[in-house]
Symmetry: C2
Subunit: 121 residues, 2 copies
């Protein structure tokens, strides 16, 4: 998906993508690009020069995804902090957030079961 994001700006060469996406291995970049090609989202254009030159670009279908991707990016911008904070809190408490909805039952209830919920507050 980061690959698609980089291609939104325009045509990119292999090396360029490799540099722009931090931490990705050459192998994974290749595999990712092949899959995106297969899905019809990205086009690959090879030039028969002696240092080979290959350009990747979004296809028309690929461009239809830029809208949805921006929506997702906007969500992350707006709620990403709350998201991370929830994780931090959960990890700190290790699932010890107490909130029990004990309901009556006619059968003998053994004890108080532990309930963990993130929404109750």
């Amino acid at each position: 998906m980061l690959v698609l994001a980089e291609l939104v700006d325009g045509v990119r060469r292999f090396r360029e993508l490799h540099r722009l996406i931090p931490g990705i291995s050459q192998r994974m970049l290749t595999l990712t690009l092949r899959r995106l090609q297969r899905d019809g989202l990205v086009s690959r254009t090879a030039y028969a020069t002696i240092p080979p030159q290959v350009e990747y670009a979004l296809t028309e279908l690929g461009h239809t995804l830029t809208g949805p991707m921006r929506v997702l990016a906007d969500w992350a911008t707006e709620h990403g902090a709350a998201f991370a904070e929830a994780r931090r809190r959960w990890d700190a408490a290790d699932g010890k957030t107490e909130s029990i909805e004990a309901h009556p039952h006619r059968w003998p209830a053994p004890k108080s079961p532990s309930a963990t919920g993130s929404g109750s507050r």
Copy 2:
């Protein structure tokens, strides 16, 4: 993500989710729900009845994702067919789509590109 989609409609019990999401194992459903809880997207409420009853629901943060999810679903509705068709075509040709024009020229003078992707349209 399918789990979140099912929860948009309202509160669901464990069994319900297991039934509604085809092909998911009990193990994976549990792991997925725990992760969503951890991320603050889903709340879990346990009732102390003798057949245990557990309800899952979206938290407020979880509800903020319904918009983005609908956007993605709409994209799939609109372009999913083209997507699948691209795959079918690629698999049928198995990547031997038109050979590249071999002009072993010495230094960069890009001439006739050969698109192996879905670019030329």
